[in-house]
């Protein structure tokens, strides 16, 4: 928050307190109540501004202000009256300690957020290392297989090994794309670059990419009749859709049909990716977006890239201030739903 904003908030709150005191004075309240009003004002200031400075500044101002304006003799500084010096000292002490306390709470909140981010990063790294090792092993194996045995291998065998290499490398590229997506908003500027994008364009582009890679995929798109403009980082949301589609194809095992649906509901753009595959195992469903589950739980292949793909999706959607959920649908298959807010957030929203 800027210095200007902090100063304006401080001044506004003090003004309200002063006006309230004038009103109290008018209805004949005792002078002893004025400091209490200002203590409340200072608690508010300490809570709503950054650091200690504004709270302490406000308490000093209040001590002198109350003495000068609201206590007899009015419009004169006088610390000699019986009882008053103690009142003011108490007020200063209370104000300062409240400022410090609220500042400390805010600092702790920041630390907690930082720790959460760190945890997310750690989870991601773990998932990534696991996901990268398998394809790399296969690439190295196939390549050395060809180099060491090129005299005895038939052309068809060799081609098969090279095809494996290509497929595994493409897989690695996917993983790297996902990582790059995360750096797009975990980097310098934590704020993502939102622009109004047409939902149909982003979906269309993601579907096109998947169809290039999996030509046999049957993907249906259901759009609303009205034009749907959603504030988002188009590249990132495209990545989310690509990940979800790829999951449906690879992990649904017997997926024959995928439906992408988008609609507007209650100020949100809701995206759904639904498949008719084997669904998601109940035991991994709860932690599915955290990249937590180990591959052993679900057989040899089920863990591959699922962890990182989905945790990246979740980070992206969260960075848009949306949310995401995974569920199985009756009659087989899985449904992934995420929503994004339709309204641009305020420049300084909380």
């Amino acid at each position: 928050m800027s210095v200007f904003k902090n100063a304006v908030r401080t001044a506004a709150i003090l003004l309200v307190a002063a006006l309230f005191c004038f009103w109290l004075q008018k209805i004949g309240a005792s002078d002893a109540q004025m400091p209490l009003v200002f203590v409340v004002a200072i608690v508010c200031i300490a809570r709503l501004t950054d650091g200690y400075a504004y709270g302490i500044l406000a308490s000093v101002l209040s001590v002198f202000g109350v003495n000068y304006i609201f206590t007899y003799p009015y419009f004169e500084l006088d610390f000699t009256l019986t009882g008053y010096p103690l009142t003011f000292a108490t007020m200063l002490a209370v104000s300062v300690s409240v400022s410090m306390l609220t500042s400390r709470v805010k600092e702790q909140e920041e630390l907690r957020l930082e720790a959460e981010k760190e945890k997310m990063r750690g989870n991601l790294l773990r998932a990534v290392s696991h996901d990268i090792r398998t394809p790399l092993t296969s690439i190295v194996g196939s390549a050395s297989g060809i180099i060491e045995n090129h005299r005895v291998l038939t052309e068809a065998q060799m081609l098969e090994l090279v095809e494996d290499i290509r497929e595994e490398a493409q897989w690695l590229i996917q993983i790297v794309e996902n990582l790059l997506s995360v750096t797009r908003f975990h980097g310098e500027s934590a704020r993502i670059n939102k622009q109004e994008e047409l939902a149909e364009e982003i979906i269309g582009s993601a579907v096109l990419k998947i169809e290039k890679r999996y030509p046999e995929a049957q993907i249906m798109v259901e759009l609303p009749d009205d034009v749907l403009l959603v504030p988002m980082d188009g590249i990132l949301i495209e990545q989310v859709l690509v990940n979800l589609l790829e999951n449906s194809i690879r992990h649904g095992k017997n997926t024959s049909r995928i439906v992408i649906r988008v609609r507007e509901a209650a100020g949100r753009a809701v995206f759904e990716v639904e498949d008719d595959g084997m669904g998601i195992q109940e035991n991994i469903l709860p932690g599915i977006f955290e990249g937590k589950h180990s591959p052993q739980e679900g057989g040899s292949d089920s863990g591959r890239n699922m962890g990182i793909g989905l945790s990246v999706c979740m980070s992206i959607v969260k960075a848009h201030r949306g949310n995401m959920k995974a569920e199985n649908i009756d009659g087989g298959g899985a449904r992934m739903t995420f929503w994004l807010p339709m309204e641009e957030e305020q420049a300084d929203g909380h």
Binding site: L180, E196, G204, S205, V227, L229, G234
Partner: protein
């Protein structure tokens, strides 16, 4: 002996250069290589390549600088090679006069298609000089009639408004090439139009509803997310 098109590859990574050379020579191109910006610049001036593949991240010089200085005196086709996620670089390169871009990692068929398109563009630009576009543009079921200012879809008038027609014909004029959002907005609504994406998006959505069977699976006008729009190649 037939005359082969000459491709200049500007790329600092050895294995990617190798890959380019193998693929392009196998497809009957004459390939020359440069690994630094300075080398690239001297080759552009001395060897007159038919198309340049320019990697934006070079060790000694920003690729953009080469692009800009070549554009000062030559319209030779330049295809920029850039990584995904660097959409701003692509937009900047296109606005600085690059003919096209290709995103790393790419497949060979995509690479060859881009090179063919870029060379064809350069050739047709000689035949029909800048200015009024006349005649017909055809791609699948889509026909743009530049003389009548009409767009037909499977023989039926698509009923585009004036701005919608302007948008489609602008894309048709540069078929196969990506036009950036900014460029399109300036061309259609003039230079004073604020960088207002909304008006362009809404127009595009309306066009798609008139000419595409399924707006989410377009056949004619494609979105390059974060960069701009591209119309399908003519038949």
């Amino acid at each position: 002996m037939d005359i082969r098109d000459r491709v200049l590859i500007v790329e600092d990574d050895k294995s990617i250069r190798n890959f380019f050379r193998t693929v392009l020579e196998a497809n009957n191109y004459d390939v020359i290589m440069a690994s630094t910006g300075a080398e690239a610049y001297s080759m552009v001036t001395s060897q007159c390549p038919d198309v340049v593949l320019l990697d934006l991240g070079l060790p000694d010089m920003d690729g953009m600088k080469i692009l800009k200085s070549v554009r000062e005196w030559s319209a030779m086709p330049i295809i920029v090679v850039s990584a995904r996620g660097h959409e701003r670089d692509k937009v900047e390169a296109l606005d600085a006069g690059a003919d096209d871009y290709i995103t790393k990692p790419f497949g060979t068929s995509e690479l060859l298609a881009r090179i063919r398109t870029a060379i064809r563009h350069a050739r047709t630009a000689y035949l029909s000089p800048e200015g009024m576009q006349t005649g017909l543009f055809r791609s699948g079921g889509l026909t743009i009639d530049y003389d009548k200012h009409r767009v037909y879809i499977d023989g039926r008038d698509a009923g585009l408004t004036q701005n919608e027609y302007k948008l489609v014909s602008l894309l048709g004029k540069y078929a196969g090439k990506v036009l950036t959002y900014d460029y399109i907005i300036k061309e259609i609504w003039g230079p004073n139009m604020k960088n207002d994406n909304r008006i362009l998006r809404v127009n595009m959505a309306n066009i798609r509803r008139k000419i595409e069977k399924n707006p989410a699976k377009p056949e004619y006008i494609f979105t390059e997310v974060g960069v701009g729009y591209r119309i399908a190649d003519p038949d």
